[in-house]
Amino acid sequence: MNEDAFDDRIRRMLQARADALPVEPQEWPPVTEVEVRRRRPVHLAVFAGAAAMLAAVLATVFVTTRDTTQQMGPTPPGPSTAAPPPSTSPEAISPVTDPAPAVASNAGGWYVPTSVPDGFEIVSASANRPPLAANPTWQLAAWIDRTDGRIDRRLQVSSLVPQEGPGGYTFDHDPGATIVRGVAGSISEADGVTSVSWNEAGRMLSASGTMDRERIMAIVEAGTVEAESGFRVDDALLPPGVEHVLPAEPGEPLDLLVTTSLLFEGQGGATLWMTSTPNEGGLPLDGMYVFGPVRRETVGGIEREIATSSPDHGDYTSVSWLDGGSRLAVSGTGMADDELLAFARGVSPSDEATFLDLEREVTDRWLREPATDEATFADGLAVSVRSSAPADAVDPLAGSVLCAEAITRLCAAPIGGAGGGNGAESASAPDWYILVGTFEVDGRKTAIAWLSGEPGDIGVTTNDPERWDPLPFERADGQQGVFVRVDVESALSMLKFSRNGGSGGANVAAEVFDVEVMTR
């Protein structure tokens, strides 16, 4: 049968089937009888941003995408368009009126909110804990710039020694591209932040900040890079008004501290996220925020840094503070400062059990949502992608989470991914997606990726930008795409996921995608 004949056969069959369907004429029922369901749209970047905020420095350094891909990484939240169902727990809050201390030191790093703003709902909760050790060669340096005594511009430079052999990584700069400190590098400006990266003295280096490009380049070019200690700049060589804040003296040992991340959605597109992370390197309050002007305020007896993003970087405010070896931050869009401060004041030291109760609550709620795609691996691990995007959302996978269900189960926002094609640069949806999540399943630290197509290169990148080492992976076919699963062998490895024949892919660094703890 030729093509036209077969096409005609399809037409005839469809027409006949449709014509034979008895459809009774009806009138629209009165509006009062209609259930108007309210869905929870969230931009994927908001989810990704929650986890990524706590690793913003490393994300800047280590997360890359190739070709024309649309990075779904650490982007500040964008507006969403509809409201979630009202929250029932915890209680709604009122503005702060009591300045008495409310927070004590917390040796474990577990924190939970004692209240959330009215109308908000927790949509993602995740935590990671040792033993995925940080790279001991990682170094952070930071500078600030004051205007009228107020800190309003930042720059931080992070660097590390790439891992040797398989699983190592390095920046992949075109030798003919931008020159930074005499070598190939890159300089980019987006959303009010200038980012510079290069390789030198056996280190990968990344500078990122809100200072103007001239000042950033002046500092970058004035510094020295040593294999052992990283990047430093003599204070005498700093531009006028710039102060050095890091490196500082290391704080107490942080081996036992966890990293946690909570994300909330509010009405009218408001979002709120909260993170706690070990304060590696003894970061002072001054060096915690790079995206806009800041001020100080004591709330609940604790000094907090309140920063408002630059207009180009999204309309959100962040409150940061230090406690018991942890750095804490709450950030929100569409919220008044006093509302955010009230929320920050209510963040309280917790324990693992309480936090995991929250994780379980969020996971259970997601698992009641229909799956966008789902599959089961040979050993019985069920995985799924779920999205709260409404049917007519431009991006149908906006606000997605990856879920894994074995003996235990967890749904959490992806820690990385990419999307591309025509939709990546227009108002329509991307033509392809890669979402990456990480889970600990029966003691196996596992990365799970969902690809909207056949898997291509799956492996770890190496020090040689032209080479990557394939990793064995398992696959489970869904209806809309393919799930692949690889073991995470090293915290220092950088995983590569791409589609077969596709032009883009996602490279995700282990430091960024801390392994999620499955709920028990």
Binding site: M1, E3, F6, D7, R9, I10, R11, R12, M13, L14, Q15, A16, R17, A18, D19, A20, L21, P22, V23, P25, Q26, E27, W28, V31, V34, E35, V36, R37, P370, A371, T372, D373, E374, P390, A391, D392, A393, V394, D395, P396, G421, N422, G423, S428, A429, D431, Q479, Q480
Partner: protein, 149 residues
């Protein structure tokens, strides 16, 4: 055109369209009702109600198809073989249609039942025209493969 007029004039056609995508009359009715709720909710901002309703129905149908498969804990293939729709016209090809993934099936239906262009299919499914063309091509290829087994 008022919402009531849209509902009265287009509901039957949209139920038929949804039926071809989801494969079940009852589910199609439910899907179209859900879609009209969405249309009503956004009525004040809709410029082209007929086109918007069609897009909403198709997307709801694709989504419903997945949800029904999960709710009933059945393979999608099983869902596509309706127990409540008409029978007798090219059953072999209709059965083959049930094998296609949701978006592929929707693309084929839009192309050969609604005579949509690839641009229109892409708009309905939230993808590019090129991707829509690919969905149709793969859908037809799969149908051929199924009926020639």
């Amino acid at each position: 055109m008022t919402f009531d007029e849209l509902y009265a004039e287009r509901r039957a056609a949209l139920v038929r369209l949804a039926y071809l995508v989801v494969g079940s009359h009852a589910v199609a009715e439910e899907t179209v009702h859900e879609a009209f709720v969405e249309v009503l909710r956004r009525w004040d901002s809709i410029e082209a109600p007929v086109a918007y309703a069609r897009i909403t129905v198709v997307r709801a149908a694709v989504r419903t198809r997945r949800r029904r498969a999960r709710e009933l804990d059945l393979a999608v293939r099983t869902i596509e073989r309706p127990a409540d729709g008409p029978t007798g016209t090219d059953d072999e090809l209709w059965q083959a249609l049930g094998v296609l993934p949701g978006r592929q099936r929707a693309a084929v239906v839009l192309r050969f039942y609604e005579d949509c262009s690839h641009e229109e299919i892409g708009a309905a499914l939230g993808c590019s025209a090129a991707n829509a063309r690919l969905l149709v091509h793969r859908g037809v290829a799969r149908l051929k493969q199924e009926v020639t087994r």
